[in-house]
Assembly symmetry: D2
Homo-oligomer: 346 residues x 4
């Protein structure tokens, strides 16, 4: 932590800061030769809270010299985390993890037909919401438990893994009992009660980035899960809010590439929410893989025009199949691939 | 709802949309004379979901012709909502509701001294967190129940109302048992499980705007609470995320003025989080009142440099007293004031 | 400048950076006791370019320890700059500088009637564009020279000062010959050729903030003008781009309060562009003055529904008169006022 | 254009709007059956300015039913524009246009060596600035004319095309005399005087997206160039400003995919400015091609740590060569390629 003083700060101001540092049992090292006074706090293990110093007279700014996250950092663990999943699958290794399906579970026919279609095209997991966070209280809120039961049926039918969202503490256990990966949605990225609950589970957690979250905020939310004891976190970029109505969101693929360097955790990307428009999903799915994403979360629906939610961004199964072919080609260029058994079934 | 087609859409494309509208039991009215085809859906009561039409061939865009929110709208209720509080106080009428106190409850001495100071300066309620949502799992997370107990003590000592945050379903009842107004924090603005829980209570709810929430999203979250049966919602602007490190947030006072026109609900403002820097709190508190805010939420701490959270944006009691004097003057210019009994005690 | 290394950087990496610092004739001071290597560049007068160090092996980040701007900073000049204007007026002192008028000059009748109306209500200057930057090539681009001539006529009629925009080098002299204050518009905030041209003039320059400019970028653009020799810069906040269609822009009053602390230059605010909606102009004009703005730029039109540009945000003269009354009250609360002679004529 | 009234608007309000429409010689068509009054303006050829209607009593909102841009739209010209360049090259067809080189021209040695290196790796044009727009007046502003002369020398040496920036009217002709493609930089995207100047030229123009520009604003700026008579516009995404310091900008590849659908113009991408960090350039260059970009603009420098500007985002020649290999592979997956003669020389 570096304390920068205002140009007109006095030696008394500096002495006050140094006294506080030493009171906390830490060492203060002034930096000479600058245009203004500056003091480094040496050996800070968290005892020195930046806010305490920011409020001292004469202090202009506190510059952090270490990152606020620990366990999620590459510094903490240099080799990449590979999250193991059932069926011999994993996320974070050379093989891409492709999760596809409808936004919401609606009927047995819908989910079963979609599951069969995405499996045929090479997906290894199905995504579909039983509990749905919706901006409007009047919008379809999901089938709830009945939806979870349909997911179990479909898993047996197809062998696909199941990725589905938990919205609160109350339903976390129910969801985790069915899901192979529990999703925490973008709007709950800083629902710290839910993050702690997920951290006390051992189920892999897919943590979506909040629509306004900085990369650091996102990593801090992952840190909550790891700090509670669950190391199986998969990050997922899904678009951030921007000022342009031509696309629903800004799909921040820079974040995918940046997080691969800052953290050892796997990072997936969701081009469906990331773009909000069906016609952009395929090019941006390709782009996500080219940028280094460890997998994709894609909305596919057998009848998008009948979908109870997010139909406008859902692919038709044949579009998804085309997308998978292109993905396979791009993965090969950068030394990655699709899981063999599944690729074989495509 | 207005369906706009692409310039190259065919009469078949238009006929398909009309057929779907009629299938839903609604009327379709094509608009002639434009450069491209356009059809209005007449009498839509929610049956026609925009997403279903957005996915039809030839359709370029769906333009909503009604607002997504209902009960929170001025159209629904033209006169302003005045939320009644204990002690004969209220929010949304001519008197401003001034809530001040530390970010977190730390000790009896801290909260008691701060409460006495803000009361002396004219505040009518104390704000202080017992359960604290923190970006970092390693930051102080609040005293929890012990904090709630201290709030009860302080209320007895000072007569101040209590505003404090509920973070989840699990602790909502505990918080509501103590609070006169239950706060839902910015990061939980779209925690729909918590919103529904608050909607089943009768306690007034202070709903902070999320750091990336559009005004419509914010009103939709208020709609969740009203739709469940609780009409006592107070909105609170607290700054949105922007691209500038010179201030922690962008304090969006346009939103205060805009919401006063779109909705009948009272709107407060939090210049402490809205600016993130102590030196900006006083001018922006004045600006918020001048813009028409129905009240203020301000961080005050007897020893900001000892605060366990957000010290850098907390006012010293004497700064708060100066702020109150200025607020009083500005309120008078626009025909508003501070509660009489409290103003008298200042 | 502080060089922060990656956690896995070697002593060779550090030595390489130190060698480069010394090669530039500067001193390197390593900081011990941190979790990672860090070196301060002492005595940097600009010779050490951050980019050169950012690219060295093992370097993670360069932290600037001084501000990039100089002459605009409070550190450079502690007392506020008061820009002197004709008629004994000025900006940056206790009196507010109120500039009002239509977006564009359209006809003699329009500009003359509007000028008379805003003068009667207490404005001290007229604003109106002869050269108009418009997003669309098909929109009205201004009357050009003919417009400047009308401004001269109106100045004689009313005694109001003239504020009008220069869009390029080519027309700068023509505009400066008529204007008492030359405006540089938001979209030209980083038109460095134009900034340099304005810096070689002695006319006061009103520099609007770009729609995405950080506060630092804005100050750097002002620095261009000062560095060329013109100290008479007036900053003007006019709203930044945000993600919400409920208001055209986000009116960033935090920036007004923050710039008053960072810089000695006067700062005005434009609530018309800042909000984009007539109904929000009056509350936000009040808020701007309450936040500490040194003046206002407000769009007023005698017939807003006939305006060739920006009619939707223009006030009617009677609304402007009401606004002026409120402004006068709020100014008094914070120890400011309107120019006496003009206030007398109101 | 659709006029939406407030819920409490009267029949008089509606009649007033209809009268104004008819006064303009256009037809008004009211839409029955909605919750509020709505009137469509039929046959509007631009005579009805939205702002005039937005200000009428009772009007809440004006919904545009046509796009503000014309000549740049796919509707106007369904087939893609292929901009022809010297040497039998072009942009917008199946072959990618790869432009690489240093941010600024510094010395003959630097530009000559970099040109040779990027040509060997397969680039078909060199990029390098002679006139440099810099945020700081104290930063290196480019070699000016001497830089242009060096570009001519290098073109003769290597056969590479030259892409370089014009900053103002004054130097446009000088730049255009040397450049094969004249760049208009991001900060000048709404410098309308410069856009008009470029429109009166026949030189191909590379128009970078402004750091806060919406897609529509960007297309409108291209419209300025086309409207003046120059059809040879190449768009270039280069990152927009976001709230995250982990990456310098947000590289908005959604915009590339979206613009390919909205417009017939070619769209390139600049992953160097789009990311601001060398380590992200290669993955994001791959992503841009995968998303459908028609070419790349990449900063390469033989000695990035000696660069006078933007060194931190410049690739070493060997990194660029690796990037080109990957690009070639990804292009093949989506049916595109590199120019044959050049690919052969790689």
């Amino acid at each position: 932590m570096l304390i920068l003083f205002r140009a007109d700060a006095s030696s008394t101001d500096e002495a006050r800061a140094v006294a506080l540092i030493e009171e906390l049992g830490l060492a203060a090292q002034p930096i000479p030769g600058l245009r203004r006074r500056a003091v480094v706090v040496v050996g800070n293990d968290g005892r020195a809270d930046p806010a305490r110093f920011a409020t001292l007279p004469g202090v202009e700014e506190i510059v952090p010299l270490s990152k606020p996250y620990r366990m999620v950092a590459r510094d903490w663990r240099p080799e990449p985390t590979i999250v193991s999943l059932p069926n011999g699958l994993s996320v974070g290794g050379p093989d891409l993890f492709i999760v596809a399906g409808p936004c919401s579970i609606e009927t047995y026919q819908q989910i079963s037909a979609t599951a069969a279609a995405v499996r045929a095209a090479g997906a290894t997991a199905i995504r579909a919401g039983a509990f749905k966070p919706r901006t409007s209280p009047y919008a379809f809120q999901g089938l709830g438990r009945a939806g979870l039961e349909l997911l179990e049926v479909v898993r047996k039918e197809t062998g696909l893994l199941v990725v589905t969202e938990a919205m609160d503490d109350e339903t976390f256990d129910e969801v985790a009992a069915v899901a192979d990966v529990v999703q925490i949605g973008a709007r709950n990225m800083q629902n710290f009660s839910l993050l702690k609950r997920a951290g006390r589970s051992t189920k892999p957690v897919l943590l979506k980035r909040g629509p306004a979250a900085s990369i650091v905020d996102w990593l801090m939310s992952a840190e909550y899960v790891l700090a509670e004891g669950n190391p199986n976190v998969i990050l997922c970029e899904r678009g951030i809010r921007g000022g342009d109505s031509s696309t629903r969101n800004i799909f921040d693929l820079n974040a995918v590439a940046a997080v691969k360097q800052l953290s050892h955790l796997p990072v997936m990307a969701d081009p469906s929410h990331g773009t909000g428009r069906r016609a952009l999903v395929r090019p941006m799915a390709r782009a996500a893989v080219a940028a280094g994403a460890d997998g994709l979360l894609v909305e596919v629906h057998v009848q998008p025009d009948q979908a109870l939610s997010d139909g406008a961004q859902s692919l038709y199964p044949e579009q998804f199949a085309l997308m998978m072919e292109e993905i396979r080609g791009i993965a090969a260029v950068i030394g990655r691939g699709l899981p063999k058994s599944v690729a074989g079934s495509g």
